[in-house]
């Protein structure tokens, strides 16, 4: 039971990142002058993430359990971790602006992001109720802090506090549900829970516990009706932090939700499916309708992400391997759309001041034609126009829902996509058919170009690599459904 090599190897990327974070604590504390040190810590973090990706790819492809069955390293974990690593890499890269971003110009930012990254990876690999909770807390706590990082801004403090309070509430719900589940199953191990569910009927208390757990996780993926924190946190946080929020944590939370429902509660898909259908419909509606009213692009992106989670949950509600694969494809597109869009939003500055109103995008096609094309691609992809990545995500998700007999859900989803397309197209209209007298700052840092370019390439050429993605997600879905056990 003690510490062994068989435990270390599967968790090597996480162990490496955690060790690096500890080194970065020292660098952050003794690195000298603040702005330069912040850049140094961020660069070291980027190198570290690259090494972690290498370790992940090099790692033994055989699915394995480590630390007494609490840590699952299977192809599902591999796929989702790769997404999270890439997403966090992009977010950190975008925070590394040459002139230095005054908001989060502290070495602690990258350090906390690294620790949150470890938390996300542990969430993805969690195969035990205790590991699940620890992963969530390790991911959430640093994010609460970075949301409030701009200490002299009331809005940032408000965002941090709101995020913290609602996050704490959701953790409480999750724990309460977990305690009920444990009380009935007598084990915290996902495999053990699944085994104890296959025999006998379910007590009501178990359903209550399961609903509480799913609700707690719905907070983390910001699915309606647990989405209240999202717009305020997106708007109030410093933009590089919002970038991170929009890209990585939801992938991890979605992965955890998938592992919990498909892994631990796989036997009772009919029970949780109803809950997820309700969450999905609510999220799609709130996301699509809420975004229309927004004037701030960060708030709009918040509602957009709520809607995206709604579409992803539709695939999850199907409860089939195809549904799981659909969610993974959706999240892949989501990461790159988020990275690309925020690479542009971060550039929305006028005279060095952040200008994040949607109307600030007026006439972007005249002043910054390249950015306008980038944003056009992102918006089309989010709206689900073929042949972009967002379209394939929606396609496989709704296909899985229909195959699982959830036709009304798929219909509502398509309707809401059409409604949602309205506000994405509004941005395009502003960029291309209106003029401005106050252009945004001209300078485009190389990192933004890089992230935007890579994201555009992935989204535009998604159909070319679709075969590979499908193979990977199918394998991962089978691993998730119990292939590893």
């Amino acid at each position: 039971m003690a510490f062994q090599m068989t435990d270390i190897i599967p968790a090597l990327p996480e162990i490496f990142l955690a060790g690096l974070a500890l080194v970065l604590v020292l660098v952050a504390a003794f690195g000298g002058e603040e702005a330069g040190n912040a850049r140094r810590v961020t660069r070291l973090s980027l190198v570290g993430i690259a090494i972690a990706v290498f370790l992940l790819v090099q790692g033994d492809a055989m699915p394995s359990l480590a630390f007494g069955g609490m840590f699952a390293a299977d192809s599902f974990a591999f796929y989702m971790k790769a997404l999270v690593l890439v997403g966090t890499f992009a977010a950190l890269l975008l925070s590394l602006r040459p002139e230095g971003n005054d908001d989060i110009n502290k070495p602690e930012f990258a350090l906390l992001v690294m620790l949150a990254l470890v938390g996300m990876m542990l969430m993805i690999s969690a195969d035990d109720l205790l590991a699940l909770y620890m992963g969530i807390e390790l991911q959430s706590l640093p994010l609460y802090v970075v949301a409030a990082m701009r200490t002299n801004s009331l809005r940032s403090s408000e965002a941090g506090l709101k995020y913290f309070l609602l996050g704490a509430l959701s953790s409480g719900m999750l724990l309460y549900g977990a305690s009920l589940v444990y009380g009935i199953c007598g084990t915290t191990d996902f495999a053990g829970i699944a085994a104890s569910l296959s025999s006998g009927d379910l007590p009501v208390a178990f359903i209550v516990g399961m609903v509480f757990m799913v609700s707690g996780l719905a907070f983390k993926v910001s699915a309606a009706p647990f989405h209240m924190w999202t717009p305020d946190v997106y708007e109030g946080s410093p933009t590089p932090v919002t970038t991170l929020f929009a890209i990585a944590p939801k992938v991890a939370a979605m992965a955890l939700l998938m592992r919990l429902t498909y892994g631990a509660f796989g036997q009772i898909a009919d029970q949780w499916s109803q809950v997820l259908v309700a969450l999905s419909i609510a999220s799609m509606a709130v996301g699509a309708l809420g975004a229309i009213m927004q004037t701030d692009i960060k708030r709009m992106m918040a509602y957009s992400s709520i809607a995206h989670m709604g579409y992803a949950l539709a695939g999850l509600a199907a409860g089939t391997p195809a549904g799981a694969a659909g969610v993974m494809i959706y999240m892949t597109g989501y990461v790159f759309m988020g990275a690309g869009t925020f690479a542009i939003i971060l550039l929305m500055r006028r005279d060095g001041q952040a200008a994040t109103k949607i109307v600030d995008l007026k006439g972007l096609s005249r002043t910054h034609p390249l950015l306008a094309i980038g944003l056009l691609v992102m918006m089309f992809s989010m709206a689900g126009i073929p042949p972009l990545a967002g379209f394939f995500g929606k396609w496989y998700v709704f296909l899985a829902a229909v195959q699982a007999g959830l036709v009304p859900l798929a219909v509502i989803g398509v309707v809401m996509s059409v409604v949602g397309a309205f506000y994405y197209l509004r941005i395009i209209r502003l960029m291309y058919f209106e003029d401005t007298d106050a252009p945004l700052d001209a300078e485009i840092p190389a990192v933004n170009k890089l992230v935007l370019g890579v994201s555009m390439a992935v989204i535009l050429l998604f159909f070319a690599g679709l075969g590979g993605v499908l193979t990977a997600t199918d394998t991962a879905a089978i691993a998730l459904m119990g292939g590893a056990r």
Partner: protein, 217 residues
């Protein structure tokens, strides 16, 4: 018999002080009653043979956490009438939550809903060792993650609250210890009848700069 007597003694005082935490008018009294409740909880732990947990409860909760509570409560200017007003408003909600918890306790004690979770077998080792086995061997992974979470809490608290102020003079003990006598002290002959202002400005300035170099930067 003695055990039962002590059980009811500890449990009774604990319940009473728990009630007093909520109803007493003075928040300092509330904290003091909370400490009393912790103490009796420790007593109950001793009764069930969990002496390690009992001591830990006293060291951690009474010796550290409650001290901080007491600090904060004593230093803060709390408006009691406002707190009273909230009490009425939140009472129904509190009663509902309490009711649910009581229902759960009853269900756990008398129902067979939670049949899955059984008490582990009592082992023939001291509870210090048993806890060590569980924390550092079986759940070593979670222990390490918990350590990272605490690290995050520490970094977060520091980075959110620490303000770097300009012009703060800090003592550098190492620099102070490293300087020699020649750098710090200068013997200046002061002619009788003259005040320090009349001294050559160079001499005064040099003593000032050396004392600054001597660590107070």
């Amino acid at each position: 018999m003695i055990e039962a007597l002590f059980f009811y003694l500890f449990a009774g005082i604990m319940l009473a002080s728990g009630l007093m935490v909520v109803v007493s008018r003075n928040p300092v009294y509330s904290v003091l009653f909370l400490i009393l409740a912790f103490f009796n909880a420790a007593g109950l732990f001793v009764l069930i043979g969990a002496e390690f947990l009992a001591m830990l409860l006293v060291v951690v909760y009474v010796g550290a956490v409650a001290v901080l509570f007491l600090f904060v409560v004593m230093m803060l200017d709390i408006n009691f009438s406002e707190m009273r007003a909230g009490f009425q408003k939140y009472l129904p909600l509190g009663l509902i939550v309490g009711g649910i918890l009581v229902f759960e306790l009853v269900a756990a004690m008398y129902g067979d809903v939670f049949k899955g979770a059984t008490l582990p077998e009592a082992m023939d080792i001291s509870n210090t060792r048993a806890l060590g086995n569980v924390i550092y061997t079986k759940y070593m992974y979670l222990f390490q993650v918990a350590g990272l979470i605490l690290l995050v809490a520490m970094i977060g608290a520091i980075s959110l609250t620490m303000r770097k102020r300009e012009g703060v003079r800090r003592q550098s003990v190492a620099a102070q210890n490293l300087r020699s006598r020649a750098e710090t002290v200068e013997v200046v002959s002061v002619p009788s009848g003259s005040s320090p202002e009349n001294l050559s400005t160079a001499a005064v300035k040099s003593t000032k700069t050396t004392s600054r170099n001597g660590g107070n930067t």
